[in-house]
Symmetry: C2
Subunit: 156 residues, 2 copies
């Protein structure tokens, strides 16, 4: 069966244009984070299968993770593995197994974006922006208020 | 604690340059797909909180989903909801709840990319490319061979 198009409502765009809803906050999908048990094996898989190579690698002690960033256009695939047993990513792997962990959206101003979220009554995990990897400033939002998705706001 | 940099190995880039591993296959993160129970509510959330508005909306009968695409730079947030009980996305929501469902990578040639994957012994869900939404040609790979991630290859 071929896909069946439904007329776009147009309503959303009109509302945004008329001032309902803020100006666009996300400037780019910064990264898609994937939790894996074996980081070198995952790096090999992406290189050998898709020619996607490591652009940056970093241990983020505060989060208890080691990450490898593979660049795709202006975005990254972020392969994540825990560096200690009490890391949130270790707990995630234990509970849910390997796979998509969170999505990072690039924003111009992390503090302003975070304020916009919390001012609407949505919870954040980080009360204030904090350092992320590769010199970024980041804040995580609460997945329970974001339709099950762990969202990270990333300011370069 | 601040992030601690680890020297990038450089090995991967050198290997790719020297011909180990293919040329880059992914040209863009095409979309990040998020499974939700209430599509209109999720659309409202992204518009009101982040100013991300619907660019395209479509029912894909063959997949049993309705999707709304919100554009972020050259990528999309794809909000997905099932249109029938036997849809794979319905089963996913029942089993795992709302959240990140799959990632779509844009490729120049879906058939060639799929062949590259399967020629290395990795399984695909789609034996051959097929129509996706907004006139694309797509193929899904098997998550068990991709570190738990459901990957879609998307040719525009």
């Amino acid at each position: 069966m071929s896909p069946m198009s439904v007329p776009a409502p147009g309503q959303e765009a009109a509302q945004a244009a008329s001032g309902q809803g803020p100006q666009p906050v996300f400037t780019e999908i910064d990264h898609v984070a994937i939790a894996v048990n074996d980081l070198p094996a995952a790096i090999d898989y992406y290189r050998e299968t898709f020619g996607a190579v490591v652009d940056h690698r970093e241990v983020v002690e505060s989060d208890g993770v080691e990450e490898a960033l593979l660049k795709v256009a202006e975005s990254y695939i972020q392969l994540l593995t825990p560096t200690r047993e009490d890391s949130p990513v270790a707990k995630y792997l234990e509970r849910k197994g390997e796979g998509l962990h969170h999505i990072g959206y690039r924003v111009a101003d992390c503090a302003a974006a975070l304020e916009q979220v919390t001012s609407q009554g949505f919870r954040a995990i980080d009360a204030a922006p904090r350092p992320g990897s590769r010199g970024t400033t980041v804040a995580f939002l609460h997945p329970k208020d974001a339709f099950g998705t762990l969202i990270e706001l990333v300011q370069e």
